[in-house]
Amino acid sequence: MRRAALAIGALALLGWPWAAPPYFVFLASLIVVNAIVAIGLNLLSGYTNQLSFGHAGFLAVGAYTAAIVATRWPGVPVVAPLLAAALVTALVGLALGIPCLRLEGLYLAMATLAFGFVVVEAILNLDWLTRGNDGLRVPVAHLGSWALAGDRERYYLVLPVGAAMVWAALNLARTRTGRALLAIRESEIAAQASGVHVARYRALAFVVSALYTGVAGGLFAFVVGFLSPDAFDVFLSVDFVAMIIVGGLGSVPGSVVGAAVLTVLHDSLAGFQNYRPLIFGAILIASMLFMPGGIASAFRFLKGDRV
């Protein structure tokens, strides 16, 4: 039953580019990218209770790294810029995560918010590298002799990477590391008393979260094809937070669903720019008041589990 559902789901995802018009293929790629970020953010916020308002900053680091690598070495297999994006962003995550070990709650939220602003300012100022306000054109991704020039090809780049990252995140919860992270979320001091090295795991959560977001950033660069610093403002970080709140804190499927819902909503409200934050804000408040466990808790409720 479960296997059959998975197989049908996989077939539907694989067949999507042939069933849908190109724009919806692009939208699906964007959903996968956002889902990877949401999972990464959820590993940090949902698992270790560290709220971040700076994930747009990580996304920007990943996107610009991938774009710069792909520009400097044209024709390099797309794996290289993506790996570079993952590595650089993870290092940035480590550099931010270690000092942030001393912070929690509001202070951490504000420090990450500040990080997001500083990244945008850095992109604007390093214009010899990032072209600053003019924006950076991202070259077409290559895989051997195959150029990923269309929406369909790019979708087939994004989908397997996304699937691998979902699979990894699902399994993380079942490992020693995942349990340690969850223990920290429940009570830091109790976890410490049980022999969990809290500082090490919190830093690890930061690095893994940044790595996820960095990979998503690399994919984002190739999917949209053009980067400019104003795309990575604090409102994008807020969107990511909204995704995990609506989807469900600490839930991997919830992150994916939350990313899908908000990405589609974002897109369908494109004609109503002025009202979009109004609706997003209302959704945030409503989900906190009426469904604090997010969509994931609604699923659990339908399945008959006790919430």
Partner: protein, 292 residues
């Protein structure tokens, strides 16, 4: 750089710093009562200033009347938000309330954009434009006015917190909610009062700063500098909020003189990251110990 010019820069830094201090005080008032950060504080300031301005456009009230309208508008808005939304999340975690206020800030900003567009509007000032000469130093009346008005408001707040029943009740709730309740203080009423008081302080700050930075839906962003100011002074401390605000204003104004201008916009954030890393308890405060 001459001393006179330096004094000029420091004084205008103190003026923006006063606004940061008032913002920080608003945040701290709500934080002390409810232990949550109100992300929407800046947007509430913006809305109440807009309300004052809209009434000014229609009725051509004198400025003092505009400020009164803004204050009343802010109080009503805060009271409604607290009763309609925040009160329902009273048992939720601080994280949840933080997200709710974040949602509120998105909504209020967007609503202001719908009602008044996202443009900048000039706002009438209490103070003239002609610089005043004090010896060799030239000072902008608006800077001195903002500093003076803010100090007066701070003194009034100090009197409120030390001399009135409400103020004492608020301080009691800040110290220990359960003990306060056992002493017969209505903690819920203190929550409402804190939201209203914070909004009133914000509205006054908004009317004072709007002539300088223009009235716009984006002016709510000042909440971030208010937060940084509160952290600088040790979050939760009122005198700390004042010191932190003034300090941040002066640093922000002095930094571009000594640093490349390109990092000017990052200065408050660099200050925040530095203070969080070096002295999370603020420049004068201590870090509170946690319990299980």
């Amino acid at each position: 750089m001459t001393t006179a010019a330096l004094i000029h820069v420091v004084v205008s830094g103190l003026a923006t710093g006063s606004i940061y201090a008032l913002m920080a005080i608003s945040l701290v008032i709500i934080y002390n009562a409810t232990r949550t950060l109100n992300f929407a504080q800046g947007e509430m300031l913006m809305i109440s200033t807009f309300v004052g301005w809209a009434v000014y456009q229609r009725l051509k009230l004198p400025l003092l009347g505009v400020m009164l309208v803004a204050v009343v508008g802010a109080a009503l808005l805060a009271w409604a938000i607290e009763r309609a939304i925040i009160r329902h999340a009273i048992s939720a975690t601080h994280f949840d309330v933080l997200i709710i206020t974040l949602g509120l800030s998105l909504m209020l900003r967007s609503a202001a954009g719908v009602a008044w567009t996202h443009d900048d509007f000039p706002f009438p000032s209490f103070f003239g434009d002609r610089p005043m000469a004090v010896g060799p130093v030239r000072l902008a009346p608006v800077s001195l006015g903002i500093i003076g008005a803010s100090l007066a408001l701070m003194a009034a707040l100090w009197a409120l917190f030390t001399r009135t029943r409400l103020g004492r009740a608020m301080r009691a709730v800040a110290q220990n909610q359960r003990a306060a309740r056992l002493m017969g203080i209505s903690v819920e009423r203190v929550y409402s009062a804190s939201w209203v008081l914070a909004a009133v302080v914000g509205a006054i700050a908004g009317v004072l700063i709007a002539p300088v930075i223009f009235l716009s839906s984006k002016m709510g962003i000042v909440v971030i500098n208010g937060f940084i100011a509160a952290v600088l002074g040790g979050f939760g401390s009122m005198p700390g909020a004042v010191v932190g605000g003034m300090l941040l204003g002066v640093i922000e104004n002095l930094a571009p003189l000594y640093l490349p201008s390109s990092i000017k916009h990052s200065v408050p954030f660099i200050v925040l990251i530095a203070i969080l890393l070096l002295r999370p308890g603020g420049v004068v405060g201590r870090v509170a110990r946690r319990k299980v």
